[in-house]
Symmetry: C2
C-alpha cells in the first residue's frame, strides 16, 4: 500500500492550562498522518518528535530534497508499518513548523508571540496531544513512540493517561537530564540570547534574526548528538586542504561540517522554539514531580513498554535508559529493554540499524 | 624554606621563525621563578601552562584573592619541591599576561597586534622556551612538566631538544586532538569570532571587547573540563530557588555556576589569545608532523618519562594518554604510567589527590 501521507492542522479550542500556570485559550496543532485508521479505530500510533523535529516524519513532498526525519522507520512494510497502523505525528505546541508557537501571530494582539510565548513542558505537550486525540475522534493510542525528547513524551503519556495508551516505546531517553545535559542546553541558550539580534525574543517584530546564536547552538548540539567514534570515522583529523593555513578559516573537515550544519539549521528553525525545547528538556523530571504519587499512577497503566538505548550515545547513555527500565520493573510493569550496538551516538535513533529495526519490528508486530 | 617567588620579563632578541612561516624579530616572555638555582645549575624545572594558564603558577601576591594555579603542587615540601628545585614558569608567547601576544602593542606599528598576531604552535612555544633557557643561562631542564596543553609542550620538548631535558612529565594529555576535541574548540572560536565586538580581531583598537563570545567559549570549555560525575556531585539538579520560574533566567545551580565562570573569565583573559591557544591544540600532532623521523628523534632522548591520566577525564581520557605511553615504549624509552582514580574530570590535574601527588612526588624525588 502507499504511505497515504496527509498534512492537516487541528484547531484546538479547549483552553490549555500550562505547567507554568499560564493559559492558551486555543491553539493550532499541525500534524501528518500516514496509513489508514481502521474501522474499529484501534490502530492509531502517536509519534512524538525531539528537539529539532516536526510533524513531517515520513514521505517526501514534491520538490523536497529529503524525506521526513523518520522515513526509514515509518512506511509500508517498515517497522512502524503504515499498511497496518494509522500513524499520527504532530508538530509540538511551541514548535515552528505550523503549530502555534513563538513565530506565530497572536490573534489577540495581532503581533508575533515572540518573547510572550509561554514555556511549555513535556506534560503540556502530552495534554495538547490528548486534545489532538479527541479532535481526531480516536479512542486511544495503540502505541506512543518517541526518541530522545520524544521518548520523554512517550513515558509521560503512560503516566498521565494510562487508560489511553496500550503500548509505549521510549528510545534514547532518560528520566531526567543530568547537570551536564543542562549545562550544554544552557550554553546553547546563552549563545542565542546573547546574540544582539535576538532582541529579547522579539526579533521577528524587529525584522531581525539571531542567526549567529542559533547556528552556534546547533553546532554545539551536533557535537553531543554524534559519538567521538562516529566523528573519528567520519572526519578524523582530515584537513579541508592539503596544508595548514594558520588562520581562523576552516582547517579541518569537522569544522566545515559544523559550520554547514549551523548555517543550514537557521534557515529552517526558530530560535525561540529552540530555547523553549531546551527548557522543556531541562524541566523533565517526572519522578521528582510526582514523588510518591508515581507508584499509584503507574499502577493504573496496563501499557507494555519497550525501552531502547544505543551503546555510543553519550547524551543519554544506556545507563540512563536503564533508570527508566528500573522504574518500570520496580512497579511490576512489563518492559522489554534493548541496548543496541551502534557507533552513531545519540543520533543512532534516527539511523538504519538491523538490530534496532528488528527490535522495533518485533515489538510493533505484536502490538495488542 | 620560603617559596622565593620572583616575577621577571625576559626580552628575547633572537628572531623566532614560527611554524606558520611568519617571524618575530624579538619578543617578551614574562615568567615566574620559585626556589633557588643550584651552583651547578642542574636543578631547573620548566612548568608549561595550559590553555587558560599563565606564568603565575604558585604563591600569592599582596592583595591577591587566590594563589597561583598550581600552588598545591609547587612549593617548599610539595611534590614540585622548591626547597630543592629551581622552578621556572613562563607565560606562553601569544599569551595575555605579560608575554608578547595579541593584546600587546607592536613596536613597529605603534598599534595593538590584534588580528596581526601570528598563530603559534606547541613547537613555537618550545622554541621560545629554549630561548628563555639560554637567557637564564641554564644548561638544561632537570624536568619539564605540564598538564593538558602543557603536557603537549613537555612531550614536544623531549622530541625537539632531547639533549636539554633529563625528565619529562606529561599529565592529562594526548598526542593529538580527536575530531570531537577540535569540534569543541571550533564552537568556542565561532562564539568569539561571531561576537560583533570581536571586530575581526582588532577590538582593542576599536575600544571594544567580545565579552559575550569569550564568556560562551569559557562556559563551553568548563563543561569539558568537569566530568559528568563531578557536575552531578557539585550541582545535580539543584534549583537556585525553591520553585521553577518558567523563564530564561537562571533556574538550576549549574547554570548559575557556568554564567559566573564565563563572566569572571572575560575580566582576565584576551579573546585572541583564547583563539590562538585553541588553534595550537588543534594543530598539535607530532607523530604526523615528524612521520618516520620520530623514531630517530626519540632515539636521541635520554629522558625518563612519567605519564599521568585521570579516570574521569573525558577530554583526554586515559586511553589517549596511553597512546603517548605506547609511542614511548615502542621506542624503548623508560616510561612510568599512572592512571589516577578521580571524579574531577580533565581539571583533576589541578586538584589535590593523594595518589596523584604521591606519584608526582615519588618521580620528582628521584630525578636524575
Amino acid at each position: 500500500m502507499s504511505l497515504n501521507i496527509k498534512t492537516e492542522t487541528a484547531r484546538i479550542d479547549d483552553e490549555i492550562k500550562l505547567s507554568s500556570g499560564k493559559k492558551l485559550m486555543s491553539y493550532d496543532i499541525k500534524y501528518e498522518t500516514y496509513g489508514h485508521l481502521s474501522d474499529k479505530k484501534d490502530n492509531a500510533v502517536l509519534i512524538c518528535h525531539a528537539l529539532s523535529g516536526n510533524h513531517h516524519a515520513a514521505g517526501r513532498y514534491k520538490g523536497e530534497e529529503k524525506s521526513g526525519w523518520w522515513d526509514n522507520m515509518i512506511g509500508p512494510g517498515k517497522p512502524i508499518n503504515t499498511d497496518k497502523l494509522f500513524v499520527v505525528c504532530p508538530n509540538n505546541l511551541g514548535g515552528c513548523h505550523g503549530s502555534t508557537g513563538p513565530n506565530c501571530i497572536n490573534d489577540k494582539t495581532g503581533e508575533y508571540f515572540g518573547s510572550k510565548f509561554p514555556i511549555v513542558t513535556v506534560s503540556d505537550w502530552v495534554n495538547s496531544q490528548k486534545s489532538l486525540l479527541n479532535h481526531l475522534n480516536i479512542p486511544f493510542w495503540r502505541c506512543v513512540i518517541g526518541g530522545s525528547l520524544g521518548g520523554m513524551q512517550s513515558l509521560q503519556w503512560s503516566l498521565e493517561y494510562p487508560e489511553l495508551i496500550k503500548n509505549c516505546i521510549i528510545i534514547a531517553a532518560a528520566p531526567k537530564l543530568t547537570a551536564q545535559n543542562i549545562a550544554f542546553n544552557e550554553v546553547a541558550r546563552q549563545a542565542i540570547m546573547k546574540d544582539p539580534d535576538w532582541c529579547g525574543g522579539d526579533y521577528l517584530k524587529e525584522k531581525k534574526s539571531p542567526d549567529q546564536g542559533l547556528s552556534l547552538a546547533r553546532m554545539l548540539g551536533h557535537i553531543t548528538y554524534l559519538s567521538d567514534d562516529s566523528m573519528k570515522k567520519k572526519f578524523g583529523r582530515d584537513l579541508q586542504q592539503p596544508n595548514l593555513k594558520f588562520n581562523y578559516e576552516v582547517e579541518f573537515e569537522i569544522e566545515s561540517y559544523l559550520r554547514y550544519q549551523g548555517t543550514k539549521f537557521v534557515s529552517n528553525f526558530d530560535a525561540n522554539t529552540y530555547l523553549l525545547m531546551t527548557k522543556s528538556l531541562d524541566y523533565f523530571d517526572p519522578i521528582k514531580d510526582y514523588g510518591d504519587k508515581i507508584q499509584r499512577m503507574l499502577s493504573k497503566t496496563t501499557c507494555k513498554f519497550l525501552v531502547i538505548s544505543f551503546t555510543s550515545d553519550w547524551r543519554f547513555p544506556p545507563h540512563r535508559s536503564k533508570e527508566i527500565v528500573e522504574l518500570l520493573l520496580d512497579n511490576n510493569k512489563p518492559v522489554s529493554y534493548a541496548e543496541i550496538n551502534s557507533s552513531g551516538g545519540h543520533d543512532a535513533f534516527l539511523m538504519e540499524n538491523e538490530n534496532y529495526f528488528k527490535t522495533m519490528d518485533n515489538f510493533i508486530k505484536r502490538l495488542r
